[in-house]
């Protein structure tokens, strides 16, 4: 991203790009390609282009989106072969005249670019991604002071808390492709994020799910998940730290 220096005039350039969209058709159960030519400026994103297609050319194109600013995680799709957020990718910065858009891989498609995130969220839920205290009622009925956390304790897990559950890492992981029951980088990074939080006391409850063939041990460090994460949440690092805890028997850093 270029930084804006005071006094620098930013030029608005326009260009026409061809968008080749791979669409899933639920009636036939197959895919087809649609091509659209759209004029966009150098400040518009792929999501802007897709919405422009929906409003001016083809209203049947199904796209999931919400915040349009990279925080909700709804618009993840494969753009020019790499899973990215459509609202954070600019056609001018991709460098090609033809932009190929496909629905996320490793997910079941519903229609066009929309995929079914149920399995992804089920796996996320299975690691219990919430604060667990020994006394279950403490947080809700008996809490009379706050949980103390120093800056060092915060930094232990902060990076992994930036995850917006967009599914790009799940889509990029080759082990998710090979093992249908693999939890996936997002669920494991979430397991680490909660286990490394000093306020949480539920690490042992998550162990059974993490320490299994479908948990951490299906990861073989291809590193693709971290390379595509739009928020820099680095799931590969979280999984390696989890493996270190499991192998040495010491709970994650507090």
């Amino acid at each position: 991203m270029s930084s804006v220096k005071a006094g620098l005039k930013l030029e608005v350039k326009r260009g026409t790009f061809t968008f080749r969209v791979k669409r899933y058709d639920p009636k036939t159960g197959g895919y087809r390609w649609s091509e659209y030519k759209v004029e966009v400026t150098n400040r518009q994103t792929v999501l802007d282009a897709l919405l422009k297609i929906k409003s001016t050319q083809d209203a049947t194109l199904a796209v999931r989106y919400s915040c349009r600013m990279g925080i909700c995680g709804s618009c993840a799709m494969i753009i020019n072969g790499v899973p990215r957020l459509a609202c954070e990718t600019k056609p001018f910065e991709l460098g090609t005249d033809v932009i190929t858009i496909e629905p996320l891989s490793n997910f079941k498609p519903i229609k066009d670019l929309v995929v079914d995130m149920d399995e992804f969220f089920e796996k996320h839920k299975s690691v219990k991604p919430w604060l667990i205290r020994r006394d279950e009622r403490e947080q809700f009925e008996k809490l009379d002071s706050y949980y103390v956390q120093t800056e060092e304790q915060l930094i232990n897990y902060l990076e992994f808390a930036y995850c917006i559950k967009c599914g790009a890492c799940y889509s990029a992981c080759p082990m998710v492709f090979l093992n249908k029951n693999y939890l996936g980088p997002q669920a494991l990074a979430a397991a680490y994020r909660w286990s490394a939080d000093n306020r949480d006391e539920g690490y042992v409850l998550r162990l059974k799910v993490i320490d299994s063939d479908n948990g951490v041990w299906s990861c073989h460090y291809s590193g693709t998940c971290s390379k595509v994460c739009p928020k820099g949440a680095d799931p590969a690092l979280a999984i390696n730290l989890l493996k270190k805890s499991l192998l040495t028997g010491k709970p994650p850093a507090r």
Partner: protein, 119 residues
């Protein structure tokens, strides 16, 4: 039966035997210096008979046998199970791997112990 041991215990030993293997395999390969051909002749300098006499080297070979068997069998099991071909496949892999492992350990131990008698 395998699931009674936590996967992390199996993998911990996989990594420990891996590190041990780097050392003992290094020794095993280092004994080929300076000439591979000479080290596979029975008699002569750097020959097999001389290697059998070297107690430290033979200890390393024993360790090599057991560590390599565990590491190789666990590794094979992991990669075969990750092909995910169903329940019968999984049971078959477990049975064959354990049988192979026991077979290699027995054959190797018999041969090595017998070889030690000769010196």
């Amino acid at each position: 039966m395998i699931s009674m041991v936590a996967k992390s215990t199996l993998m911990k030993w996989h990594y420990i035997t891996g590190l041990i293997l780097v050392v003992v395999l290094g020794i095993h390969l280092a004994f080929r210096w300076p000439s591979y051909e000479a080290s596979i002749q029975w008699s002569g300098p750097h020959g097999v008979y001389e290697q059998l006499l070297n107690i430290g080297y033979m200890a390393a070979i024993f360790i090599l046998l057991y560590a390599a068997t565990y590491h190789a069998m666990n590794g094979l099991r992991t990669l075969l199970l990750e092909l995910h071909q169903g329940r019968y496949w999984n049971t078959a892999v477990n049975v064959v791997i354990i049988a192979l492992g026991i077979f290699i350990v027995i054959v190797g131990t018999v041969a090595l112990v017998g070889a030690l008698q000769v010196i």
